[in-house]
């Protein structure tokens, strides 16, 4: 049932956002909130991402924008929030910026998760900061009256998302590698329990996690099984389909993950 998901279609602007809040979350990550131009909010869907410049005016290093999924928006305040784990020097620069300072942002980029109208049971499988787009998706789904199970895996308890970040109606279940909270082991092991329950599965996290999830699903699959949408992570340069640096091999050829993705039907992707 490898459905073809939509292509990027939201308006793309380059803007300077003023940071209005920056707080730590999930142990070593940050929730960075900044302003966005009028008229963008209504185009933002869960799974969309933005490209943030990781250096200030007057510096050419680091040079390339960093892609981050949209964690949430506040349409009234016209702000957007990203959940950022700084792996390297670009992410570190971004999270070091304080309220009042600014960020140069390019967006809205990418396609987005698509919830079928007749799906009522949605399973989210998140690894680490892959939590971000699925948080926004859960909120939207709950608001539409769908049932949501949200599985999150992390290394340790302090790297989990606080339950208060998710809507009450979401069933939030966690796994930690060291067993400090929830299931001891990988989040994909939890997923097995929900495969028959789910109408659709949405996942975001490290590639090995998504590959493991796929194995679990293939093992348990009977009949058509639930459709699975994954959000892939590739190094990006342009974010708009111009450089072909971020391609994903699919059954229909090379696709730019920034415009034909980042969300793909799991079965449309060629797994190595």
């Amino acid at each position: 049932m490898a459905a073809v998901l939509g292509k990027a279609s939201a308006p793309v602007r380059e803007w300077t956002g003023e940071i209005t809040a920056n707080r730590t979350i999930m142990g070593d990550s940050y929730l960075v909130t900044f302003t966005m131009p009028e008229g963008l909010a209504q185009h933002i869907e869960p799974g969309h991402f933005v490209n943030v410049l990781p250096s200030g005016a007057g510096s050419f290093d680091p040079l390339l924008r960093r892609p981050y999924s949209i964690y949430g928006i506040d349409a009234a305040a016209n702000t957007m929030t990203l959940l950022i784990r700084p792996y390297g020097r670009g992410g570190q620069w971004i999270v070091d910026q304080q309220p009042g300072q600014s960020l140069n942002v390019l967006g809205i980029l990418g396609n987005h998760y698509e919830v079928a109208p007749r799906s009522s049971h949605l399973l989210m499988v998140a690894g680490g900061v892959g939590a971000a787009p699925l948080k926004m998706l859960s909120e939207q789904a709950v608001a539409q009256g769908k049932s949501v199970v949200y599985l999150l895996g992390a290394r340790r308890e302090d790297q989990l998302l606080d339950a208060s970040e998710l809507p009450h109606a979401v069933e939030y279940i966690v796994a930690t590698e060291d067993g400090s909270a929830g299931h001891k082991g990988f989040v994909t092991e939890l997923a097995a329990n929900y495969l028959t329950w789910a109408d659709q599965i949405f996942t975001c996290g490290p590639t090995p996690m998504m590959a493991a999830l796929r194995n679990v699903i293939l093992q348990h699959r009977f009949g058509k099984g639930p459709q699975v949408q994954i959000s892939v992570e590739r190094t990006m340069a342009c974010g708009v389909g111009a450089c072909l640096g971020c391609v994903v091999e699919t059954k229909k050829g090379m696709k730019a993950s920034c415009v034909d993705g980042p969300v793909f039907d799991m079965e449309s992707v060629v797994w190595g």
């Binding site: 410049l53 390339l64 389909g241």
Partner: protein
């Protein structure tokens, strides 16, 4: 001193060619960094550009290199896209018919493995409505010369230039590779073949190793280095080439804003291309057009041509036009 009238940004990149390549401004997004022009058309007003160069095409469709294809380096990036493209025939069907209705001229960048293949591609493109000019990428390996890059050798560069020149009446731009020992010698050999303009630089060959995986960060092992990091090499080569040829030069390599572009104009470039910057700042080319206008007006220049080559005492490029 300032003038009432505004400075002219118009440049002529093919002064001896009846098919003309007159741009209303000298700002051109570079090949491989601007897709086929459409990718950025909902981000900026593409029609305001002087022209744009399309992603390099080849005679056969190519799936490109395995991933990862790009990595960041200090003030630069490496890429090894591997010329992923649909091949010339599918390309001709798909893109020029769209460009035909555009105001902005489209320059088609292409490369090939042999001199004959270069000529054949030029012939196919000669008559295609929507194609304004050709940019010939000679930074690719000559399969008849054991993988030695065309652009590193004056004779091979001249052979390609002559073959393309004979195959088309379109304005022809030869895009030089910065890996040559003596770039001025290559440029002179190319210019002698009657091509219309020269563009430089293409990327430098570089590599980056990930200490964790102990492997190259690029699946193809090496990649092309671009961005601000290479700008000093590019400015120097433009400066040298501008002393060696009298056809117009299009300068590029690390141009991000006004001051960068001015370096290239003053070294001797008649127009500039912007590559990597499109990724960091898609609005940069449009911004540059505005900034150039403001700067030239403030300087009291009548035309962008007033500053072309001013930093170069032996400047010749474009002087005969």
């Amino acid at each position: 001193m300032s003038t009432q009238t505004r400075a002219s940004l118009q440049v002529d990149l093919a002064p001896h060619n009846p098919r003309e390549l007159i741009l209303r401004n000298p700002v051109i997004p570079a090949s491989g960094c601007f897709g086929y022009g459409q990718e950025y058309s909902h981000v900026i007003d593409v029609q305001r550009l002087g022209a744009f160069c399309s992603k390099g095409i080849t005679s056969q469709p190519r799936a490109g290199n395995p991933m990862p294809r790009i990595t960041e380096t200090p003030a630069g990036m490496l890429n090894a896209i591997g010329l992923q493209n649909p091949g010339i025939d599918a390309f001709i069907k798909k893109y020029p018919p769209i460009w035909e209705h555009w105001d902005v001229p489209a320059i088609v960048n292409f490369s090939a493995d042999t001199v004959e293949e270069f000529a054949e591609m030029a012939r196919k493109l000669d008559d295609v409505p929507g194609v304004a000019a050709l940019e010939v990428n000679i930074s690719c390996p000559n399969i008849h010369a054991g993988g030695f890059c065309f652009g590193w050798d004056a004779r091979m560069s001249a052979d390609v230039s002559r073959a393309v020149r004979e195959a088309t009446t379109l304005p022809v731009i030869i895009k030089l590779s910065p890996g040559a020992v003596d770039i001025a010698e290559i440029a002179a050999a190319v210019a002698e073949q009657g091509v219309d303009a020269i563009s430089l630089i293409n990327t430098l060959v570089g590599m980056s190793i990930d200490p964790v995986t102990r492997r190259s960060r690029i699946a193809n092992t090496t990649g092309g280095l671009s961005g601000p990091a290479v700008k000093p090499v590019a400015v120097r080569q433009v400066y040298q080439v501008a002393q060696a040829v009298d056809i117009p030069i299009i300068g590029l390599g690390g141009i991000f804003g006004l001051n960068d572009a001015l370096e290239f104009f003053m070294a001797g470039a008649t127009a500039i291309e912007m590559g990597t910057v499109c990724f960091s700042h898609p609005v940069a080319p449009i911004q540059l057009i505005d900034d150039l206008q403001t700067w030239l007006d403030a300087q009291g220049c009548a035309s962008i041509m007033d500053i072309v080559g001013v930093a170069n005492p032996q400047f010749r490029a474009g002087k005969d036009s």
